[in-house]
């Protein structure tokens, strides 16, 4: 890429939008995942009894449910990211590449 190309791409409104959307997407999802995981870790560290409570009358504990939910959340977040990236980010990226003829 020549300095001219770099200038051209940086000023392209599609590039500016691509960067904004992509950054919003990955920072917010990363934050959600870190909050979920470290929230869980802190709960384990400070209040293991909360996780040890039985769900209803049985022995299956709240913690077991929470553990399964963390797994499902991780999968759902990656799925959401892929969906958004394929639907929103990629078309914008393709358009940008065409405009810049690169």
């Amino acid at each position: 890429m020549s300095p001219d190309d770099i200038q051209r791409i940086c000023q392209n409104p599609d590039f500016i939008q691509l960067v904004r959307r992509k950054q919003n997407l990955y920072w917010s999802l990363s934050l959600i995942m870190l909050v979920i995981y470290f929230g869980f870790v802190l709960l384990v560290a400070f209040s293991p009894a909360t996780l040890g409570q039985p769900l209803s009358d049985g022995v299956t504990s709240v913690g077991m449910l929470v553990g399964v939910l963390v797994v499902l959340a991780a999968f759902a977040l990656t799925g959401f990211y892929v969906y958004r990236a394929n639907r929103v980010i990629d078309p914008l990226n393709d358009k940008l590449k065409q405009e810049c003829a690169l």
Partner: protein
């Protein structure tokens, strides 16, 4: 075991606590297992031959020509994560402590969404063969590649030794083969796969094994659920009824009672995974950022599914293995140690034939993981050190591949020798070091090189080295090594998990030595960030798949 002790030992189970499994030495040859393993070896050697015919260029050798699909790569990544150690180790942790086993599984899993959001696509857009390509993208080649290669080799070799010792003990136990021959067999097959078949064979061996392990574990979980009338509640109820800890197995058990320890372990698990060179290398085996993205989605799905199955395997084993006298020796201990419970469960649910299958899968798993490790170590030597530093890029692809093959051979010999030297050593601390080092030496610099304009060569080198040194020093001073291995009275550093401190120090040094860098070179390096940023975001100019 004291709490600190447990806090230290458990993360290691992820990698190589298997070594502790071998309390029993002599066992009859297990012909079912050996037969099935022979089939696996013959089949994978066939795959290696097929791959060898397709491996011509350097890109073929390092990254399978970038021709893997997202789904295939996802399976291979999952295969790297669901190693023999996590299969046997996590189910053993659940068998012993119940819920605590889940904590480690979740830490490793939670790393994957982060890798997807922050690492995968940029890595693919910027790099070609190794993650040092990315770190050195706008920095000075020689110092950055040398430190990255050093980080890669340190992590890969430690991981390899831990795997070799664990493998030798496990194979001795499962197959009745002598430790010496087991280690040599693993080393020879590993070198064979990598030198002849390169990344293509390494990836397919990993895929085949991942499918076998997922299938085998699914079958076990299904049979366990069937035993309990497809009610997890009934399974948990019976497990709590027979376990010595009672319903305490359904709650976290003081394992991470110290918040600093808990956060430090969590950081190490998440970001250590994002700093493992053989995992990062997998992102270059797909054609573009879109496939890299897909591969993490599939990988997360498979890894998550596998860990959910392990809950059923672990808790099911409490009832189905723990209460069955045939799996205990005269003194009442589990035959072969608690790491063998998944194998015993295989026998309980599927008889001798299935036991043989699971044993063969465990062996296959080790082979597939060590092959990936050897390849990543070899590419650090041949691509980063030889081709980019010594020959300054003036090298033919054939020469580069030849050096890579020689490096693989050397790594194989070294791994066998170290495996034999460390046979009777307690090497558990090595595996703890692996994730902590990966999180401290590789991850901070990789992350900053992609996300922070200000990073300079000086910052990158100091960041890597301070992460490496601090992680090793803190681990040596920790209770696990200072007290348990070196036999001192009191640990000089109170925590078993150094990642919080060593990672912070690595980030801080990388920042500090970058912002104080006033050299003309640093100005140029900061100036090159914008072009790098555009390529990392859009993939314009990224290395594509080779055309054949």
């Amino acid at each position: 075991m004291s709490r600190l002790n447990v806090g230290f030992v458990l993360p290691l189970v992820m990698v190589a606590d298997l070594a502790l499994a071998a309390e029993e030495t002599s066992r009859p040859l297990n012909w079912n297992a050996i037969g099935m393993f022979m089939v696996f070896v013959l089949f994978t050697l066939g795959v290696t031959r097929w791959a060898a015919l397709r491996t011509r260029s350097a890109s073929d050798f390092y990254t399978a020509g970038g021709g893997m699909s997202g789904f295939q790569n996802g399976l291979a990544i999952a295969g790297d994560m669901i190693s023999a150690a996590s299969f046997l180790g996590i189910s053993a942790m659940m068998f012993l402590n119940g819920y605590d086993g889940l904590l480690y599984a979740l830490g490793v899993l939670a790393g994957w969404p982060i890798i997807l959001f922050l690492i995968a696509e940029r890595l693919r857009n910027l790099g070609k063969y190794t993650f040092a390509d990315v770190v050195s993208y706008r920095l000075e080649q020689t110092p950055v590649r040398l430190t990255s290669a050093f980080g890669t080799l340190t992590v890969a070799l430690m991981y390899l030794v831990a795997q070799m010792v664990g493998a030798g003990k496990l194979i001795e136990l499962l197959f009745g083969i002598d430790y010496l021959y087991a280690v040599i067999l693993v080393g020879v097959l590993m070198v064979f796969y990598v030198t002849f078949g390169g990344m293509l064979a390494t990836t397919w061996v990993q895929i085949i094994k991942a499918v076998m392990l997922l299938f085998g574990t699914s079958f076990m979980a299904f049979m366990v659920l069937k035993h309990f009338g497809f009610s997890t509640e009934a399974m948990f109820a019976q497990a709590s009824a027979v376990h010595t800890k009672g319903t305490a197995i359904m709650a976290p058990g003081g394992l991470l009672a110290n918040p600093v320890e808990a956060i430090s372990l969590g950081l190490g698990l998440i970001f250590g995974t994002a700093g493992l060179p053989h995992i990062l290398m997998r992102f270059f085996t797909v054609s573009d950022a879109k496939e890299a993205r897909k591969s993490v989605f599939y990988a997360t799905g498979f890894i998550g599914y596998f860990y959910l199955l392990l809950i059923i395997v672990g808790f099911g084993a409490i009832v189905m293995v723990g209460t069955a006298p045939e799996f205990r020796d005269a003194s009442g201990a589990i035959i072969g140690g608690s790491n063998m419970i998944a194998v015993h469960l295989a026998q309980a649910v599927g008889g001798n034939l299935f036991l043989g299958f699971i044993s063969a899968v465990a062996f296959a798993t080790i082979l597939a993981v060590v092959a990936g490790l050897a390849l990543s170590g070899a590419s650090a030597v041949s691509h980063d050190v030889y081709a980019c530093v010594i020959r300054k890029g003036q090298v033919s692809e054939q020469q580069e591949i030849r050096v890579s093959r020689i490096a693989t051979l050397c790594i194989g010999v070294l791994a066998i020798i170290l495996g034999l030297l460390f046979e009777s050593q307690n090497i558990a601390f090595l595996s703890g070091l692996v994730l902590a080092i990966a999180a401290s030496v590789n991850f901070p610099v990789l992350f900053l090189s992609m996300y922070w304009k200000g990073l300079t060569t000086r910052g990158a080198v100091f960041g890597s080295l301070s992460g490496l040194v601090s992680a090793i020093v803190l681990l040596v001073l920790s209770p696990a090594v200072w007290v348990n291995v070196l036999q001192h009275d009191k640990a000089l550093f109170p925590y078993s998990n150094p990642a919080l401190f060593s990672m912070s120090l690595a980030f801080f040094s990388a920042w500090f030595f970058s912002v104080t860098d006033r050299s003309p070179r640093a100005v140029l390096e900061r100036g090159r960030y914008l072009a790098q940023f555009i390529r990392s975001m859009t993939g314009i100019g990224a290395a594509g798949a080779s055309k054949h």
